[in-house]
Symmetry: D2
């Protein structure tokens, strides 16, 4: 909950919970940080977590748990088949989405593997507002193609549209007609569109997408991993949602979409994932993949303790007190940076703040990797780890030439319920320092560049 | 540890640990049990765990944790990349196997998916002592073929050979030559061979297999999921191992094998899995599959808490006090049954006791599913759930005809550190009752028979 | 629950729970055990727990917790005043005893301190079936005297009376009349009378005691620390209780007694303690002692996590499946020993088995401390730690002469839900060995004999 | 750690840890808060915690635990005697204080009971910088008298002396001489003097007190419950301590003082308490009280899990990253309030912020209880619970007349590691609102006034 204070310069985000268990963090002296980032080849993925003060690499699987979740882990009913724990997960999913059928999987990408195996045929197309890395990987692995139909505002850093993750409905229809509905594997709606800054989709737009799908007889799939944040934005930015309960919104969506899947590393403050639906026959067609890739149908490759935690966490995903925490702390950080003049994607989305590094280092060409350079600089300046989301994260063209990213972003993810206002202020302060001293930052070049997944494993050094 | 008591009829298995946390079990009245098994279509997979007193369905993911494992879960370093927790797992694997390279995965079948994707080409063959269900599924999915070269004693219920999981080395060589080494994806050694009763492989045989592979230039792969039990049998049944430490045995194997993988739902008393090796280039060829199917390289789709538990559990896998518990309780159960005349696979293996249902119900033909019938009877008689490992677990031939299993077994798995001598005695008593009253048990017929995985989801009723 | 097996020599006690978390035990080699007991001056209190395989010193604070208790600890509402956790404890006590008023304390002896401070005036008398060490200490500290009126059968090792903890009602009345009701601080009924072997009191006798008290206008106090065991014996040994629920028994007692107190280290499988009553004014007279000695009224010196665990554990104290475990394992041990001819107190009580060391070492005089000698021997023989309950546990007379204990017992306490049948059999086996080799056991003499609490801190050596 | 930000109006306190587990808080609507405080008779002790957003009643037993503490709880060695857990506590105390002897007790007041029982004779005097409620209660209960010799600055709200808890050494000497050293039970140094606002004592002053005691042959006792905060102030306010490690300070004190005791509800972020010393014979004289009042010498009435947590927490008490958190958040709150003009005790101490209610409501006489009135107002204004530390907390004179408190304070305690900057800002904001609207606040009068401990149980209503 964010409260407007009686006597305060601006709105301050406020946790509606207290802290029960903490874990020590290290803030190395700057010379050690310099050493660490050099040892990591200027790649934040290769830093050791013990050398990091604020780990803002991702929001996935690193959220704080509640006391109720922690407690639930201890009552887990450890059984391969027919576990009470799985029954509790089923009840939780039913409560949150209203759906009858449930298939568990060990995390979001595992759901994507199964959906791709089941529905993506060679030559088919999966249409979506925007791709996500693992989603695309599985679709292309199965011979499909990904087409993105996000509204153009979604890609404009300057646009302050409240729902920059929205589909362009006209382009959606055109795309379906162009490929032919029979060649569309599915239309995927990504709530809280990850790669364009955690930008939400409006309820109106989601429902319209579902209608389009229905009209064309095309399957609609909701990636609900970031739905919790998205629902927060619906409630606070979309007039029709103001007086709906969060549960009404979840149910409305589930009623309209053919299939929903999610990573519980995000939704549910836990680990694991699941696919759910009202549609029995669709779900039956997915069923056999679960034991093959994941585990038996009543645990799906998850630790039964994690299932307990997710079952509790899903209820928490309905609670505005909990789901507002992330977006409001991000909003605070974005405002702090924006007020100071730091180029940052607006409006604030649901996953983290995103620095626009092309504007921070306008002189630096894509092939000197400005986002990676800022990532390294911010670690040196403050022991803060962000994630490069720019050209380094792309894969070279088959001819070896660089494929330049549309945006050179540094993502500063905000794990839910983990960092405090003090730490967010510290983060803002360190970014301001980097911004003020941006002329110290030079470009990077590869010293080791793996063929695949270079952003994970590659190493770079400063140019000159 | 099993001690020979001063004053006792026979050896009694003895836990070298005490109980810290317990969980209530229900023993329904017999009329409720009858109702429950009928509601489950006489399929023990479809029973609800709350209706079960002793769940002996599997030993996978249902082992009790130690206090140290439970504690470790709370110090988890929740980080996507570079987590200290993963470093601790790496150190544990290094300690246990001596291997340098480690790729995590969410459980054993996930490792198999990756190994199959990487190494099994259409038309290739994977040779092994015996198949395991998920192993075979991934190999055939990738277009490979499975060839089993277990020594013939392994399939003789009567044989009391101490290492019934051993390879027939001559057949192994012939098979390699027959297919040509270049068409052999790998030779897989399954420690504690699951589907033939958890029967161990001798150290001598394992090393000889590795030598054969080396000679032919074929990759050797050790499935170490049940290695803990297997090492116990090496120590107690194989002369050369008596004075070796458990660690020496693990290291010797790891030195000789090209790749080792395991399910931590068995090895390590936890959840998750991993692939490990001394061979950097082999491991690099697997690396990219981890982020695709599992999760980033430093968590591999596991809950970081589970990784902590496994890291501790792996050390426990070196401790004879812990690893003897399972085999010795199984041995006790097998001896009790054998002494009474119940047909049971001997010698006792490492996973559970296996009732030979063809001998229990000799009149009943395969297509009346004797193992399923005994499974249902034992649940009714004692609230005990075993797993059918007979014809129901097979898949029909393409022409719809039944494919009869070689053995009609009822597996009574023994989760590690979970049940006590009282409960094992209770189990033996209930089996004796079933044996004495076996003429009450009739055959079963399908009421719902799914096309695939019928043993998971199918339903049956009593004939006549 | 104990089941009569279909095919079994005798009844076997059976846990109605499974094991979730275990803790490693060490069984030192015999030469190390010898060294350890000598290092401890032949006093089992001075042994280090790491040197012990079975710690049967006491049942207090060493019981295994349930999964539900463990989970509850994590939802603790950590507040000094008005905590929800305390409200949950209040509801649990209300459910179990039906009582309205509740004062928490950090354990049983803390309740005794408060009751003594409030009610025992110099010159007053507290009448009870039998004293307990700390009870007596507080009463005498406050200037009171303890008078024991247990039925004579209670002190006869040979008697097989089912309720050897019963009051002799005539002696009770005589004692009240002799001292005058106005000089009776209270009559204390100790359920599961500890120092005479955990022997129960019948419901009939307890109610009769309450009636006597009522008639004379004397306050009745129930020490319910071992009530859980006692209720088990009422249900199984007393005809009128057979068809009563455990809750009916608890409520009936609470309705009749003026005050109930208990140690949650025994009742409730936790840590802590409490005083409860229907009588508001009595409780108000105790209230001010709580903040003085213990802590504020809504936590009473307990860890709030322990309060959660106790709140859950009290419900478990109503569950025959749980409360039968202790007595039935004790019963099994006693029968094993008795069948072999080892002198042991009968019938089996609720706290542990008690070896009659005067009969084991009939030649050894009290001042050579037969019970301590057997305790040391059993530790050497099996790494098992019992508690001397004989002359060593007495305090010398003011003139320095020994005060000989009525019984020279070695108590082998049975922590609840901790040890298994294997371990109980092991214990029996080791006792049998000691019995068969009793001529090896010599007497002990002091090397260091503290003035007070010599049984805690004193050291002895073998004579000759 | 507090960092001076690069771009920030003022210093912001910064946690050197992250959040692992959270617990939901409720912020009731204002009309419900009004109802709740009326239901509680305007006494914050009588509020239910579920109706409170920020519980700032006390810092005792409500501190967040670290992940290491939580983990340690699970490895507890549950043994009455000779537990490894107790050995770990012993090692921790040795590390922190360097002392050899250790007696455990269930919390701070239990130590005080024992010290009073052992050392306070009727007619004796205990001299201290300032009394604490329970300390005084035990001393007077044993017939002793408490004399306070705090430096006069300690009682001046306006004084900004950095060590307002210091002894006036001249008065100390005079007092000893006046009573005669033989009648001085002990001199007690309270670190972080609680009742005058958590004000620290300088190292120099503490050592000087010890010297005085030594010279007169009087026993010195350090109440180290708030020593962690006090050491932080020594390090940051006292020149000679700047380059000492925290451990050096702890050891220096322990070397000079005869006895140290502490509540682990404060020191060690846990529950429990202990007495420690270099002096064997002093400790032996206390030993027998432990089993009488607390529990056996190797657990002292604590839950063994709590002992594990304290053992870890004591090491954390050496870590400036952890021990700075409390004082710096308090400092921030005090500065916020002071800058706005709210009357608050300065300098900021170690336990919480203290509002000077006599200045907030200067018109309100003591017998209308201004501190209680402000406490009720703050709860209504923000769901925040403080503790009245004014006339309500005093006891009436024997003649029934009020005994007016020297200071009418509202204490806003800051549990360690529990609240965040957002919440501290919220708290400051609500206090500012109360300050600005102070003319709305009227006096209170009793509706139920208990004879003893009226501040705990009494009820009041608004006047007029």
């Amino acid at each position: 909950m964010a409260v407007k204070f009686y006597k305060s310069e601006n709105q301050v985000p406020l946790e509606m919970h207290k802290v029960r268990v903490v874990q020590k963090l290290n803030l190395l002296p700057v010379e050690k940080r310099l050493q660490a980032i050099q040892g990591a080849g200027n790649n934040t993925f290769l830093l050791q977590n013990k050398d990091i003060y604020m780990d803002m690499l991702t929001d996935s699987g690193v959220n704080a748990m509640s006391d109720e979740q922690t407690a639930a882990m201890f009552t887990a009913d450890d059984s391969y088949a027919g576990s009470e724990t799985f029954n509790r997960l089923r009840r939780a999913v039913k409560e949150v989405f209203g759906t009858e059928y449930l298939l568990p999987a060990h995390q979001g990408r595992a759901c994507e593997n199964i959906l791709a195996e089941a529905f993506v045929k060679p030559g088919s197309v999966a249409i979506m507002n925007f791709h996500f890395t693992t989603t695309k990987a599985h679709i292309t692995r199965c011979g499909g193609e990904v087409v993105e139909v996000v509204d153009s505002k979604g890609l404009q850093p300057q646009s302050d549209d409240p729902f920059k993750g929205n589909f362009n409905l006209d382009v959606l229809k055109e795309t379906i007609e162009q490929y032919g509905p029979e060649n569309v594997a599915f239309v995927r709606v990504e709530a809280g569109t990850n790669l364009i800054g955690g930008q939400p989709v409006s309820l109106e737009n989601m429902l319209a997408v579902a209608d389009v799908c229905h009209k064309y007889g095309v399957m609609s799939v909701l990636d609900a991993s970031l739905l919790q944040d998205n629902v927060y934005f619906m409630k606070t930015r979309e007039a029709q949602c103001k007086y709906m309960t969060t549960k009404q919104i979840y149910h409305l969506l589930a009623d309209k979409m053919d299939i929903i899947y999610f990573s519980s590393r995000k939704l549910g403050f836990g680990r694991g994932g699941a696919i759910t639906s009202h549609n029995e026959s669709l779900m039956k067609s997915l069923m056999e993949f679960i034991p093959l890739y994941e585990g038996f149908l009543t645990y799906g490759g998850m630790d039964v303790r994690s299932i307990e935690a997710v079952a509790v966490g899903l209820y928490e995903s309905l609670d505005m007190d909990y789901i507002s925490q992330g977006p409001e702390f991000i909003q605070y950080l974005v405002k702090e940076l924006d007020d100071y003049g730091v180029p940052v994607i607006k409006p604030a989305g649901g996953l983290g703040a995103h620095l626009n590094c092309s504007e921070i280092l306008p002189e630096l060409p894509h092939n000197q990797y400005p986002a990676a350079a800022v990532a390294a600089a911010l670690y040196i300046a403050g022991g803060i780890r962000g994630m490069e989301r720019g050209t380094v994260s792309e894969q070279r063209e088959p001819d070896g030439s660089e494929r330049y990213a549309e945006l050179e972003l540094l993502r500063l993810a905000m794990p839910r319920r983990v960092f405090t206002l003090s730490q967010v202020k510290y983060c803002a302060d360190r970014v301001k320092w980097v911004w003020d001293n941006r002329d110290l930052i030079g470009g990077l070049q590869w010293t080791e560049e793996p063929k695949v997944l270079r952003f994970f494993f590659g190493r770079m050094k400063e140019i000159g």
